[in-house]
Amino acid sequence: MKVALAQFSARLGDVKANAAFHLDILDRAKRAKADLVVFPELSLTGYTLRDLAEEVALDPYSDPVFRRIVARCRGLSAVVGFMEERPAERGIFYNSAAFISGGRILHVHRKVFLPTNGMFDEARFYAAGRDFRPFDAPFGRAGLLICRDFLHYGANYALYAGGAEVIICASAAPGRGVAGGRAFETSRMWELMGEAMSYFSTAYVIYANRVGVEDGVTFAGGSFIYAPGGELLARAAYVEPELLVRRLDLSAVREARRKWVFKRDERPEAVLRSLERIVRAPED
């Protein structure tokens, strides 16, 4: 399978311009014979939305602009980030990512962990998702995460326990810390998680981060693919835009799960019992 990571910037609040850019990238990815294109978090709207969120929110099943992107996803799959508002939940906005394949939406993930501290303000404007659901993609079982979700290992665990062989994270991670090498210091945090999760989930980890500047904040880039077993398969440039295309071999999941029997020996029911006890315990 060939994967393309669309490490680009977005035009803040301009869905039409961003949609045109998505169509262009999808065409480029098709020419490169990619099977899957992963766009970053909120790729259709830009990240720092604040009050703009409700103006750019859309229903992916009926919005004509989104439908054009869905229609273009024939012969390849794509993960697209957008601000979601569904007819059944008017006035509620989710930071979402859709998995599109064969001209239809196979799955929508709503970001569960909304960073709301320091420079982040998401929960002030968006509602939180409530679930991590693996789903069947054309290439195998997959799971979606959005940015901060990925840094909560329980989120990765839920996808892994649900059988995901490919964990896909769409991200808009800003860079912080300039005392290091040729990357923001925070890039290491994401790579560390990618390495650990791919190792212990014996799954592929595909992480697409954006670049560009919004309101003075620089997004760090450095998108990556880790193969099962913690092997760095590819990493895009830090800070600079790039369309990174790499072939990955899904039989590596079988190989890793044969060699390391973490998945075979996993006991989600034991974890669930422990979690239930913790969740139900009255606060001290």
């Binding site: 035009r11 803040l12 009050d51 300039v178 090498g181 500047v213 919004e214 309101d215």
Partner: protein, 272 residues
């Protein structure tokens, strides 16, 4: 001390910041004040790299002939960077105002000069269809060592998250001439004025205290425990607390359900 920066990476980020923020506005031209000092030299150098030297205009704005060496250094820097430069003497407009106010203090005069320079920059910004690039650093912003609506006014500020001591490292990396790098920092508000003399601390210590208080969120007690004199730490704390008004838009009296500054919250880069 604040951490040592990787100047090569910081240059890359700041050049991209200047370029991208101006490109969003569809205008890749900048104007900035050139004092002959370190910060404006670094800023001009970054802007020249981001936009191309011909798209950067450095305005040298002395008060009469008070600091001829600074004017020469600024012009020389502009020539070496290949940016356009012009000298605008602000003495006539400042003197015209104070001719009826002979008792005005030097602080009032200094602030007036800073605001005259701002008004010249913004006027030229309109004429040239160029954006004003600010040169305030993190040290100055945190202690409020700047004139509100004067040198602090700008469209974008590339260096506001770098301490003075970090800018020195960036300046060396950018090959800013030693004559500028070795200068005693001064706001140039009156003859003989120096930053460190007026603030009462040298930048090395000031940055160390600020970095502890702000970046590491250490307490007063911990900073003093690290070897800083209580009077100095208290002075820095007083300066930081007393200057928040310079770092914020003024509060708007809230009356309606949706008010500017309170709950009308759009990104700065809205639609760009």
């Amino acid at each position: 001390m604040p951490p040592k920066i990787n100047p090569d990476f910081v240059e890359k980020i700041l050049v991209r910041f200047i370029h991208d923020e101006l490109a969003k506005c569809g205008c890749l031209k900048a104007v900035l004040g050139l004092s002959g000092g370190l910060d404006s030299a670094v800023c001009a150098s970054l802007a020249a790299r981001a936009l191309g030297p011909p798209n950067v205009l450095g305005l040298v704005m002395p008060y009469g002939t008070s600091c001829p060496q600074d004017v020469r250094d600024a012009e020389k820097l502009a020539r070496s960077l290949g940016i356009r430069s012009e000298v605008v003497d602000i003495a006539p407009q400042v003197d015209a105002y104070f001719s009826r106010l002979p008792a005005a203090s030097r602080v009032r005069r200094g602030n007036k000069m800073a605001r005259e320079r701002m008004s010249v920059l913004y006027d030229r910004s309109a004429l040239e269809r160029a954006f004003v690039i600010g040169t305030s650093n993190k040290t100055e912003l945190l202690i409020g060592y700047g004139t509100i609506y004067g040198d602090m006014a700008c469209a974008i500020n590339p260096m506001g998250d770098l301490y003075k001591t970090q800018i020195r490292d960036l300046a060396a990396h950018l090959r800013i001439p030693a004559a500028i790098r070795r200068k005693t920092p001064t706001a140039g508000l009156w003859p003989g004025q120096t930053d460190e003399g007026e603030i009462g601390l040298i930048y090395d210590e000031l940055d160390e205290i600020l970095h502890g208080l702000v970046d590491l969120k250490k307490s007063r007690k911990e900073i003093i425990g690290a070897g800083h004199k209580p009077a100095r730490v208290d002075r820095v704390l007083r300066l930081v607390r007393g200057s928040e008004f310079k770092r914020r838009m003024p509060p708007i009296a809230k009356l309606s359900a949706r008010s500017v500054g309170h709950d009308f919250l759009y990104p700065y880069d809205w639609g760009r």
